[in-house]
């Protein structure tokens, strides 16, 4: 197979169930180049790269290698063409050694004694790029950075001229990131081409020669990083000058309903994901937390609502210390929660609508007396929830999984605010909902604010944040890069930079 000198994607479009993920995308890369693919979450970066890698087929458009149109039907085809991909989540077998994992992904692995016979090749590649990997270590003993290098070797061994890296630094420490960039620069010097998917401006500026920005499935622009500054790049990513059309009536700040001080939380991988965060939320206020997903927002919400243990620091609801209380007690102290993934956390799909309507309140006296559930009252309550929160269903005697996402979310929101909690923690409440449901849910949040409640709103949707919030905190790598007042338009113009961690206020 001839070495790739130039790869082009021409007019690529792809849609899922009528919503396009990519629309008329054009990009190109030449040998010895590192291209950054920049965009917010859900902009369509990964979809585009999955098309290039053969995991998806485009609806229209073509891929050209060295000027010739090629058809990539599967990852095997793309490997034959010299394209390799390192996914965000590594595809390694933890209990196998490095060399076993490599042998497994290598096309020309001999049938007998594979380990011995490909060992030399692995060592050769390790030395060529200074990988420093012990071939006989088990994968679980390796750090994230080392595992990533194993994935890179896997791709290179299969003859990849073009390496696609999906969010390569999201699992790395700063030192490991430096090491990765060194490797990538070595590869570039040897004529390889690299595409890095990222939403971190600093990295793009640091390592890439050129950048292609995707916004809501379309190309927002191409640029040489040498001629760009971060500010204009951020503007390109978010797609516009930040707009402010506030139609919230100003309300006097009420009493303090939530106080978080020096909160430190450990994530699923055992690393700190929320680092000594402090803030307060007051009645009559919507406090927004913006940021790109995966910067600790989920863990922060879970720590406040009691689902995830708090390592150090404290959370107060009003005057009451609720640090590390059970979710039920925290609810009883007036903190309710619309969880991030509504189907995964918010409901029991096979139970009836009325069962789900009391998921967090079934222990309250009005729904159960002496251990027995009062189904009469529960059903009446459910009917009133369905009516007042406009849940479209023909009956409350249906399994909740038969409802649409928007209707499930309306029921969850209704359930969580019907008891008039002093604080509502809402994580991405309108994610994936249609315009009507979105508007309705936002109105309900504003209504809660008028009624004297407080809302802690986690959202990646900046429009939503600007429309609803009185104060906005931006979260980056487990820390706040600033807490801004929504009237502070000057600083808010830099929100893209704050999300990327390159500006702090």
């Amino acid at each position: 197979m001839k070495k790739i000198q130039k790869l082009e994607m021409v007019n690529i479009s792809k849609s899922f169930q009528g919503n396009f993920a990519n629309k008329d995308i054009n990009l190109h890369i030449n040998s010895g180049e590192i291209l950054g693919l920049l965009g917010e979450n859900g902009a369509g970066k990964t979809t585009l790269m999955n098309i290039l890698y053969g995991l998806y087929q485009p609806d229209s458009g073509e891929i050209r290698i060295n000027g010739e149109s090629v058809k990539i039907n599967s990852p095997i085809d793309s490997i034959h063409h010299g394209i390799g991909m390192v996914h965000q989540h590594f595809m390694l077998i933890q209990n196998h050694t490095v060399i076993e994992n490599i042998a497994l992904g290598y096309e020309k692995t001999p049938f007998f004694f594979p380990k011995i016979r490909i060992r030399d090749k692995v060592v050769e590649f390790s030395e060529k790029f200074n990988f420093a990997i012990e071939p006989y270590k088990k994968v679980w003993q390796l750090s994230a950075g080392e595992q990533q290098r194993v994935e890179i070797i896997k791709a290179l061994l299969n003859g990849a001229d073009l390496l696609i890296l999906d969010e390569p630094t999201s699992v790395l420490t700063p030192q490991e990131t430096k090491e990765l960039f060194r490797i990538l620069k070595d590869m570039k010097a040897q004529g390889h081409m690299v595409i890095i998917i990222s939403h971190k401006l600093d990295e793009i500026m640091d390592i890439c020669d050129r950048v292609t920005v995707i916004q809501k499935g379309r190309i927002a622009g191409h640029a040489d990083t040498a001629n760009m500054d971060k500010r204009s790049l951020a503007r390109m990513m978010i797609g516009r000058e930040v707009l402010f059309n506030v139609n919230r009536e100003p309300l006097p700040r009420g009493e303090q309903v939530l106080k978080v001080s020096n909160l430190h939380v450990i994530g699923d991988k055992g690393l700190p994901v929320v680092k000594y965060i402090s803030f307060d939320v007051y009645a009559n206020e919507i406090f927004g937390i913006a940021g790109v997903a995966g910067n600790g927002q989920k863990e922060l919400a879970e720590a406040i609502t009691g689902i995830r243990p708090i390592k150090s620091g404290a959370v107060f609801a009003g005057k009451k210390n609720i640090t590390n209380m059970s979710p039920r007690k925290i609810y009883d102290h007036g903190v309710s929660h619309v969880p991030e993934e509504r189907i995964k956390f918010g409901i029991a799909p096979g139970l009836f609508l009325y069962d789900n309507a009391i998921l967090k309140q079934h222990h309250l006296e009005k729904f159960s007396k002496n251990m027995f559930l009062e189904y009469g009252r529960i059903k009446n309550h459910t009917k009133s929830l369905v009516d007042s929160y406009k849940v479209a269903t023909h009956s409350i005697d249906v399994q909740i999984k038969n409802l649409s996402g928007g209707n499930i979310q309306k029921l969850i929101l209704g359930r969580e605010i019907s008891e008039k909690p002093s604080l509502l923690v809402a994580s991405h409440p309108t994610y994936g909902l249609d315009v009507g449901a979105t508007e309705y849910l936002r109105e309900q949040l504003l209504k809660r604010r008028r009624e004297g409640g407080a809302v802690l709103l986690f959202s990646e949707d900046l429009d939503e944040i600007f429309e609803l919030c009185d104060r906005i905190a931006v979260m980056f790598q487990g820390e706040f890069t600033g807490i801004l007042d929504s009237s502070d338009k000057e600083k808010l113009a830099d929100i893209g930079l704050m999300m990327a961690g390159s500006v702090r206020y």
Binding site: P75, F345, G346, A348, L351, L359, K360, L373
Partner: protein, 368 residues
Amino acid sequence: MFKINVYDRDSVTPLRSLMTNIGSLAASLVAIGIVFLLCGVNPLYAIAKIFTGSFGSMYGFKETVTKAIPLILIGGGLALAFRGKFWNIGAEGQLLMGALMGTWVGLAWGDTLPSYLLIPLMFFAGFAGGALLGLIPAILKIKFSINEVISTLMLNYICAEFITMLIVGPWKGSTRFGFPGTNNLNPSALLGVMPGSRIHYVTLIVAIISVVILSIVVYRTRFGYEVRVIGENPEAGRYAGINFFRTTIVIMILSGGLAGIAGVGELAGIHHYLGYPASISSGYGFTAIIVAWLAKLNPMYVLVSALFFAGILVGGDAIQISLGLPGATVQIVNGILLVFLIMGDYFLKHKVVIKHSKGVNKFLKQGN
């Protein structure tokens, strides 16, 4: 090339559920028929014989009811445990532990206590024995994340060997002429039977009351609600602040305890002394798994499915005698039934469409 597409079914009507079950039963009868055919027996005759042997005569029916008693008790408890996604495969051991505790109480106070105190005490001891054995895997699971399938299953063997040790050792009865087994229980410790049968009616009544209470517990109480939520979606249970430790403990106290009561019933109603574990139980703890499954984990339906499987046990005995088939036949019949019922469940939850197509991209489904 053929391509098989699998879709989730959005909703299942009761009719579809019933038809799927009947279909699975029919399919399993065909498979069982093939087994009979391989044994050189006319399958239609053998299958007919199973049902006439168990439901076709008064004698057979009485035996069927007798064998249904432990299946109702254990099946009800398992229905609760499985609903809460606790895979209790250890009912056999829990039954034996109940029988053991019953024996201990029966032998120790057989002479001193009157029947109306002794029998309830034995049942209570049996409940406690089964519950305690059930608690071990519950605690192991919650505190140390040890898979309950393994721990409950292994406890069965520990329990069985422990009983064997007792009956050949310290508990060996003086009236057994050196054979393994305890002495017979004092008559005051024995359960009455319906005339002309082996139906120990006290246990039968306890069993029926138990499943009635269980279905109230599952569908009407806070605890049952929490069990159902955990069973449907443990993540939602955590989000709602359900105490997993407490819920699991209560599940296993009830599930193990009911198996323990079944053990006391077998001991005091049928065997009258503690002998080899295999003779005390004949695998009720395992058959009850199928009973609970066929009942769709609804305790009330357990009454019907327990009777059905008791019938198969009795009918199996009948064909062993009349057709000279080996003793494992019943287990094969039961096993095939379970496999087909579980497969039927898959088709109930999913819709499978086979398409004729070519050039299918087999990597399509891996994408994210």
